[in-house]
Each structure stands twice: as C-alpha cells, then as structure tokens.
C-alpha cells in the first residue's frame, strides 16, 4: 500500500518560536493597582488593545484608553504588535507514487507562491497549509517616572488572525502580574 507520510519542519527564525518572555522589575508591588491606562498605540491593532481591555475589566480594574496623562491611572500599559503575518504559508512537498516521504513542510514568505525559488528547488512541492501569526510586546510603566515595571513578548500562531491575536494575548495574560483589582 502506498504510504505517504508528511512531517513538519518549520523554517522559523528563533525569535518566532521563542517561548513567552517576561521580565519584572524587582520589588514591584502590583497589588495596589486599581486603574490602568491603555496607551493609544500606532503599533497595536484595535483588536489587541480591546483584548487586553476586556481581560483587565474581567479582573476588576478600571480601564482608561488614551494618551499619556498625569494622575489618571496607577499604571500605564503599552502594547505593540512587532510582527503581523496574516497569511503565513507552508509548502508540503509530495512525492509521486510510492515511497515514504519525509520532506518537511517549509515556510515561505510572501504571496508569490509557486513557482518560487523555494518551491522550484523542491520537486512536486505543493502549498496547502496557511495560517497566521502575531508577535506581541507589552510594557507596564510607572506613570510618574516612566519606569518600566514589567515587559512581556510572545509570538503565537493561529488558524486565522483572530485566533492568532486571541492566542498571543492569552499567552501574555498567563504571565501577567496583574491578577485582580483589590
């Protein structure tokens, strides 16, 4: 019986596959935070800031959205989308008849799918997988001094952009220092 096995080897950069990375300023007490100002950001989509706003509201915080100001919040939060790949494609090379194929799936960039230099080097290559990825970076800042209190970054893949955004936000919230308003 013909067996045709497919396997994955994602040609991702190390940055793309790194786990969630966080850092906290030593000695920071987040337990007194009641109001968070989500800073308007040209580098974060509305979907991302809204997802964080929902999470903070769920935890009982007062949430404001806008530019930096003085005294309206206990904490500033700044989110940035550092990489936005709405349509990541993977090549799945298939052998003709017979034999076990252990060719990897390889990521290719752009929308010029086939023939492409990558595909041309792989006979019978076929593109059949696509998904989305979001790289997200978040900072929590002390409003008066601008001191960085906490930072986190993650890259997350999803079947589409909605799933990738949801996954990246959820991943960061897992490591979030704000556990609930007092």
């Amino acid at each position: 019986m013909k067996r045709l096995a497919l396997s994955l080897l994602l040609a991702l950069t190390s940055a793309c596959v790194a786990p969630t990375r966080v850092a906290t300023r030593a000695g920071t007490d987040f337990s007194r935070v009641q109001t968070v100002l989500l800073l308007d950001s040209a580098t974060a989509s509305r979907a991302v800031t809204d997802a964080f706003a929902r999470a903070l509201l769920d935890k009982g915080y007062r949430v404001r959205v806008g530019g930096p100001d003085n005294g309206s919040a206990d904490l500033w939060m700044e989110a940035a989308v550092t990489q936005f790949t709405p349509d990541r494609k993977y090549l799945v090379p298939l052998q003709g008849n017979g034999g076990i194929v252990l060719y990897p799936v390889q990521e290719i960039s752009g929308r010029s799918l086939y023939p492409s230099p990558t595909a041309a080097s792989l006979p019978d290559a076929q593109v059949v997988i696509s998904n989305a990825a979001v790289s997200l970076s978040v900072r929590l800042l002390e409003p008066r001094t601008g001191d960085l209190l906490w930072t986190g970054a993650v890259t997350y893949e999803g079947l589409d952009m909605d799933a990738a955004v949801e996954g990246s936000v959820a991943s960061l919230l897992k490591r979030f220092p704000l556990k609930g308003a007092p």
Binding site: A5, L6, L9, Q126, I129, L159, D160, A170
Partner: protein, 135 residues
C-alpha cells in the same frame, strides 16, 4: 477461482490507487493555483477513492481548513492521523483547528502528541508554547 478473484481485487485496488493518486495531484495543483473550491471537490474524490491514503486525507483536511469547512477538515485530518499516527502535519493542523473551535482539551492533546513526536526543536517549542497557553 479464488486466485482469479484475488487477482481481480489486486488489479482493482491498484487502479483505484492510481486514480486516487492522479486526483490527489490534480487537487493539489488546483489548491496551489488558488482554486480551492475546485481543489476541495477533487480531493474529496481522491480521499473517497482510496480511504487508506493518508496523504489524500491530509490534503483534503488542509484544503477544507482553507475553505473554513471545519467539520470536514477535522474528520479528514483525524482519518489521516488514524492512518498515519506519526503525521506531524495532521497534528499541527488539528492543534490550530481545535484552538479556533475553542476545544482546549482536544487542542492540548494534539500539541502534546506533536511535542512528544517531533524531532524538530523549533516545532517542539511551538507546541510547548501552545500547551503553556492552554494550561
């Protein structure tokens, strides 16, 4: 007589496999050309012509995913996985699909299997990151 029947069965199976292989190639060509609607129809035929072909089931599952036919995609990918339990492609796609469908238990299972199976450190890290989020 039995031998004749066996021979006919073998010839028929070979013909079916060849037909399935041609359909698979054509379906993938269509998918590659962005004709995913036609590709889906062709790959349904390929998967139906040879139900034991993990590649045809996988290809059907992946193109169904692209067409957002999630129930069909899940069924095809699970069939592919039953035929080829080491299919990292099927596990990867199912992990993403189950997350999209908000089935964290099933997604965890797919990512756990993938993390345990793969030889790729990049892919293992990716699976672990998804597992961390789904905990």
């Amino acid at each position: 007589m039995k031998r004749l029947i066996s021979c006919i069965a073998i010839v028929a199976a070979t013909a079916l496999n060849a037909a399935s292989s041609d359909l698979l190639k054509e379906g993938l060509r269509q998918a590659n050309a962005g004709q995913t609607d036609q590709a889906l129809a062709t790959l349904r035929q390929a998967a139906s012509a040879d139900k034991g072909d993990a590649a045809a089931q996988t290809a059907l599952g992946l193109v169904a995913l692209q067409r957002q036919q999630y129930a069909e995609a899940q069924a095809a990918l699970e069939r592919a996985l039953s035929l080829d339990p080491r299919s990292e492609t099927a596990l990867f796609a199912l992990g993403l699909l189950f997350e999209k469908q908000r089935q964290p238990g099933a997604a965890r299972s797919a990512w756990q299997r993938l993390a345990a199976l793969t030889q790729s450190s990049d892919l293992r890290e990716m699976a672990q990151r998804h597992l961390e989020r789904l905990e």
